[in-house]
């Protein structure tokens, strides 16, 4: 019974991981940038939620549009002014550039909100669904459902909207897309903005179930990477499965082996996957792929 409880909590956590990883993989797959500031962008979203909640008493779920919009604008401008200069150049540059950005965001969060650990308590925080001795907190179920909904929304957007088509065309072949009249610079900016907006929204979800501080971003970035390679880059369904897998594995290790090794699970998985099967367990696809 304990095992089932732990596994179910892992699945619910996995929804959050999947949501976080899909935005990471969108940026990676289309712009070829490993966004090392991903975790910190999530935390910026989390602090937007925290501010709106503590100042105006807004429910965390209702703050999602605000955090997503804020991050979208920030990332869109950043991409137009800065990152477009280095897209498709050496990975040395994109890596240190996003790390520099990460440091600036961490410093910004500390300066604005101090390094204290924060958490948000809502009126439904303590409640839980009980089925045959298993307790599932409503907050976790809510976060799981919202994470799934956002993932699905992104899928629909990429598959059927006009901008989504442009993004997939650029991912497939930037030069050909440009010849066909797509403004690739703008598509890059929109993609980076979308990825960041989703990171911000994930950050808002995070506040409902996690305590957070400005410095906890980097493990989330690494976990995003793990989920993406486990599920295959550009494979959204894969990312969902991989996120759930990571969530379950982490919870099991933490409950039955040692809580201190919780984060080590993802890093061991990372090295193991890369060594055994660098294309992920479901194979690599790109956003250009119509099945993606």
């Amino acid at each position: 019974m304990l095992f089932l409880q732990v596994a179910l909590n892992g699945i619910l956590l996995g929804g959050l991981y999947a949501c976080m990883a899909i935005s990471f993989s969108l940026i990676w797959g289309v712009l070829n940038i490993i966004n090392l500031a991903h975790g910190s962008m999530m935390l910026v979203g989390a602090y937007v939620t925290y501010t709106l909640h503590s100042r105006f008493g807004l429910d965390p779920v209702l703050t999602i549009p605000f955090s997503a919009t804020a991050l979208f604008v920030f990332a869109y401008v950043l991409q137009r002014l800065v990152f477009n200069r280095v897209v498709m150049t050496s990975i040395f540059l994109t890596l240190i550039l996003t790390f520099g950005l990460d440091m600036m965001l961490i410093n910004f969060n500390i300066a604005m909100f101090t390094a204290d650990v924060r958490s948000i308590t809502t009126w439904y925080s303590g409640a839980a669904l009980e089925i045959g001795g298993i307790r599932l907190a409503y907050t976790r179920i809510l976060v799981f459902a919202l994470a799934l909904a956002m993932t699905l929304a992104l899928y629909v957007f990429l598959k059927w909207s006009r901008v989504g088509h442009a993004i997939r065309a650029v991912a497939q072949d930037p030069n050909a897309a440009q010849v066909m009249g797509v403004n690739t610079q703008r598509v890059y900016a929109v993609t980076f903005g979308l990825g960041a907006a989703m990171a911000g929204a994930t950050g808002s979800l995070l506040t409902i179930v996690y305590a957070f501080s400005p410095v906890i971003g980097d493990p989330f970035t690494l976990k995003s990477f793990v989920v993406v390679i486990l599920g295959g880059l550009g494979n959204m369904f894969g990312a969902l499965l991989a996120g759930i897998f990571l969530g379950v594995a982490e919870n099991i290790v933490s409950a039955f082996i040692h809580p201190g090794y919780r984060d080590a699970v993802s890093f061991c998985l990372l090295v193991a996957i890369l060594v055994l099967r660098p294309t992920g367990f479901l194979g690599r696809r790109s956003y250009a792929d119509s099945r993606a």
């Binding site: 200069r85 540059l93 520099g100 440091m103 910004f108 690494l222 080590a264 890093f267 990372l270 060594v275």
Partner: protein, 331 residues
Amino acid sequence: MVGAVIPPPRTASARRAVALAATLSVAAIVLLFAPMVVSPYWMRILSMAFMFGTLAQALNLIAGFAGYPAFGNVVFFGLGAYSTAVVMVKLGGSFAAGLCVAVLVSLATVLIVGPPLLRLRGHYFAIATVGLNEMVKALASNLDALTGGGMGLSLPLPPWNPAETAKVFYYLLLGTMTTSILITVWFKSSRLGHACRAIRDDEVKAEAMGLRTTTIKTFAWALSAMLTGLVGAIYAYWFSYVEPPAVFDMLIAIKSFVMFLLGGAATLLGPIAAAFFVEFVSDALWSHLLHFHLGALGLGIVLIALYMPHGFVRFFRDRGQTLVMLFRKQG
């Protein structure tokens, strides 16, 4: 007959070699005698610059020459530091023994993880090394009996007075940095160095030419790791204390990475010069921008990536050429 009187024109490379040798000997003399005149504050900054110079040079071997972005190379720094700490605290060994074990542990780690990880390229390799660092860090934080866990380990204090201690570590780190330069001099013209550059330019072709790429890459990474481990070991005794967040700090990796990029990949003295530059600048910043130090450092990194993607030597050469052209147009 004229040829016998006028010395044959020296080639550009020969002239550059003479200039390099002159600069190096002047720098060597200045650095050798510096401890007699400079303040303890500058002794410390210079020692840190030597430390980062070695780290950047070590990174240059695997990332600059072979083109493998070992982003998480700091794992060997941490392994070296912890090896020394464990040898000295748990086994009662000497500092020299600690240094040897640190180098051997780094070497052994590369021999084990190198062949599988070096099959990966680009982003995958970069992040895999970060994962390796986080994995070892998690082990160091949790194997309480061996490493003291999150509490860290306190090393025995060096047996000299503070002024002597500062000098010892100054010369130790200067020696290590010199060793890293000598290794690079040898590496640059060795078969191994040429093979690494062939791999960097086109790995498939290099393999088709009969190079055993995995062995070559592993060897280059091993050299890099041993130097990094050695520096980590010296750091542990110098600071007398190791704990996981301090010695497996990604910031150390990023700083050496920036220095290596700023100095110019696969150059001999670029990474060293950049290490001095970045250390001096970040120290000057540190005293003025206590609350925004991290952000300022991040901004500096972003600016370097944007405006000096090929290092400052290229940057100033290009700017110099633009100036020359401007003058020519006007004249």
